[in-house]
């Protein structure tokens, strides 16, 4: 019996601590004190893959020295994943849950079961507001919302009114919103994926999140704004076509696709007179010349023949139009100019006993993002905002009034 009593007392004390506003204050203060210095230190950008993260930390160490480790341990660098912040946030959420449970019953009862509608006569005697010459059937305009509640006699009548009694429940709703944010954070940690996809027309890219989902890209209509493309996704035998542009993500295969960068890609095939395919070098060892953002010209070379060339797309072509003419220059050994002219995006040419054919395509780099926490976040945000507005802007007002036959209306209110 004694032990059970001690356990009950202890549990009560723990519950009081957990549901106390004072604890919330200390926890919020701790979170703020941890976050404030973090604003002045570098934070790893979100969505980095493990290799990029490693590179980021290495770069950070190169800049800031070994103190990076100490700062990361405190949580001032990499604050988003700081164990201290996560601990404080978890405790805060626990506190929020306990506070909500602790107060929900009381607030619910107050909202659904208004207390007595008739006060003892003494309360009316010292009422702060008193009207004279009032007709019981016609109250002053500001009191028109009062309703009769009891009439013991025709000489004394009681009235009662209340407004906004649901307002305090807004606190509960906003705490519920914060809990939905917790669900969003859990879903984010468990299921957030971000992958870079590099696409060219005619080629396919597979998105690892969903087996069997593949994407292809095509240029948009000529009159579409620059950077507009069509993405075609195919999964489970079904095709979906969606437009994509900068800051206009497309949805496909349960992911959102963001246009990271785009441009023209040019590729040539060179054959000797005897039909042999000659090797061709592009910058960076790529199989194509890529004209990404800011890159207006590209060069290639045929090492076995001593031939070099430059390709300059038109300004419209650089905006992702594969059907625009290009400027092509080809130099032979000793920088001798073999060809200089405007050519079609797909064509062929014979110079210095080699046969050159080329084609031009657009390419896009996409970021495919799966964020399972987004829906939870929106639900949480809605609850938080609605609850906050209700709690802050809806003032619960209660009014008790007594009218006597001599025309005196005594009004007691619970608000100023």
């Amino acid at each position: 019996m004694g032990r059970a009593y001690r356990v009950t007392v202890l549990a009560g004390a723990v519950w009081r601590l957990l549901s106390s506003r004072r604890l919330a204050i200390y926890l919020i203060l701790a979170a703020v004190l941890l976050l404030l210095p973090a604003a002045f230190f570098p934070q790893p950008p979100p969505g980095l893959d493990p290799a990029a993260q490693e590179a980021w930390w290495a770069q950070c160490r190169a800049r800031l020295g070994e103190r990076v480790n100490a700062l990361a341990r405190i949580g001032w660098i990499g604050v988003a994943r700081s164990p201290i912040l996560l601990g404080v946030a978890s405790a805060l959420l626990l506190n929020g849950v306990a506070c909500t449970i602790d107060r929900a019953g009381r607030l619910w009862r107050a909202a659904t079961h208004p207390s007595t509608a008739v006060l003892p006569d003494g309360a009316y005697e010292c009422a702060g507001v008193r009207y004279t010459n009032v007709d019981a059937a016609r109250f002053p305009r500001e009191l028109a919302w009062l309703r009769p509640v009891a009439s013991p006699s025709s000489r004394v009548r009681y009235f009662y009114g209340e407004r906004g009694r649901w307002g305090p429940l807004g606190t509960i709703l906003s705490h519920l919103g914060l809990l939905l944010f917790l669900a969003a954070a859990v879903a984010h940690l468990a299921g957030y994926r971000r992958e870079s996809l590099f696409l060219q027309p005619g080629t396919e890219s597979w998105f690892g999140n969903r087996l069997g989902c593949r994407f292809t890209v095509s240029a948009a209509a000529k009159d579409a704004p620059p950077g507009s493309f069509w993405i075609e996704a195919e999964a489970d035998g079904q095709r979906k076509r969606a437009p994509i542009a900068p800051a206009r993500p497309a949805r496909a295969c349960g992911a959102r696709l963001y246009l990271e960068t785009y441009g023209l890609a040019w590729r040539a095939e060179v054959r000797a007179a005897d039909g042999r395919v000659l090797p061709i070098d592009y910058p960076g060892g790529a199989g194509w010349l890529y004209f990404a953002e800011g890159q207006t010209a590209g060069a290639f070379s045929l090492p076995t023949e001593g031939i070099t060339g430059t390709v300059v797309p038109s300004p419209a072509g650089l905006l992702g139009r594969p059907d625009e003419a290009l400027q092509l220059r080809i130099y032979g050994p000793g920088e001798a100019l073999l060809f200089d002219g405007t050519v079609e995006p797909t064509g062929q040419l014979s110079v210095a006993e080699v046969y050159l054919s080329w084609r031009t395509q657009v390419f896009v780099k996409l970021e495919a993002v799966v964020e399972p926490g987004f829906g939870w976040m929106v639900a949480g945000a809605t609850c938080l905002l609605v609850g906050m507005c209700a709690a802050l802007w809806v003032r619960p007002r209660r009014m008790w009034a007594r009218w006597t036959a001599d025309g005196v209306l005594s009004v007691v209110t619970n608000h100023r």
Binding site: I25, I28, L35, F40, P42, G47, E367
Partner: protein, 280 residues
């Protein structure tokens, strides 16, 4: 009539109106100790501060017309919006006892902020600039508008906290001090939901543009700190041991981080090098 479309002229006029409003409220305080609720001085202050707010809205509208869209591409615009929100919130939203004190507070925050913004911003930076395509869509303007309106209310709450700390409750004229808590509550009740909406709209805008909701850059962290401090103020305002000066100190800290957030952009004070942004 060309001068009317000059947003700088309008902003300078607003600065003058705000200064006059501040002086009116201060003179009223000196004269009557703010005991009269609807004194002439207080009403004059309200009129001047409100006019300043409207002139700033006109300046923003002129900038919007100049660029043919939302005029929120520069920090200058956001500062004008915040000062306008503060002045208009005071003029239209604060009534009852203590409104003269609130007028002094609103004026003392709004006037120097606007004057310094006008003086320290070069004409090149003041030039209206269209919003870049990446900032297009509906969420960016909602984010900026809601945050600016929220900052207006919270600046008043924080300012009254600072005033309470400076003026205190001590001294012979104790009964002349307003109900600080009621004034601060009005500022909090107005500003806090708007700031929250602004943050959420910002998160959705970021999601629409880049595919993440929160990127933990300096500005976002400082906004979170500001939001956290005002959340703290909601909890401290009626708790024994935290009422009064500790509560006022929390609000003052919120005011300081609010201005830090406004002044520190993603890159301000930070050197962006190979994707690393840092101050120290």
């Amino acid at each position: 009539m060309d001068w009317l479309t000059e947003d700088t002229t309008l902003a300078a006029g607003a600065a003058l109106a705000l200064a006059l409003g501040t002086v009116s409220a201060a003179l009223q305080l000196l004269k009557s100790g703010a005991t009269e609720e609807r004194s002439g001085g207080t009403e004059r202050a309200r009129w001047f501060l409100g006019s300043g707010g409207y002139l700033l809205l006109l300046a923003l509208a002129a900038r919007g017309l100049a660029v043919g869209g939302w005029p929120f591409a520069r920090r200058y615009d956001v500062l004008l919006l915040t000062v306008a929100a503060l002045a208009l919130f005071y003029a239209l939203g604060i009534r009852g006892p203590g409104s003269t004190w609130a007028g002094v507070c609103a004026g003392l925050i709004a006037t120097p902020t606007l004057v310094l913004t006008l003086l320290l911003t070069s004409s090149g930076v003041r030039e209206p600039k269209p919003v870049p395509p990446l900032l297009g869509g509906i969420w960016f303007p909602i984010h900026v508008l809601a945050t600016g309106i929220g900052y207006g209310g919270l600046a008043l709450a924080g300012g009254t906290g600072l005033l309470q700390l400076v003026a205190g409750h001590e001294g012979p004229a104790e009964n002349a001090f307003p109900d600080w808590e009621a004034l601060q509550r009005q500022g909090l009740a107005w500003g806090y939901p708007w700031l929250t909406l602004g943050m959420l709209a910002g998160a959705i805008w970021s999601w629409e543009s880049w595919g993440w909701l929160w990127s933990w850059n300096s500005k976002e962290i400082l906004t979170l700190v500001t939001w956290g401090l005002f959340t703290l103020a909601f909890h401290t305002r009626r708790l024994s041991g935290w009422r009064g000066r500790p509560h006022a100190a929390v609000l003052t800290a919120g005011l300081v981080t609010l201005f830090l957030t406004l002044l520190v952009s993603r890159q301000v004070g930070q050197r962006a090098l190979s994707g690393i942004e840092y101050v120290f």
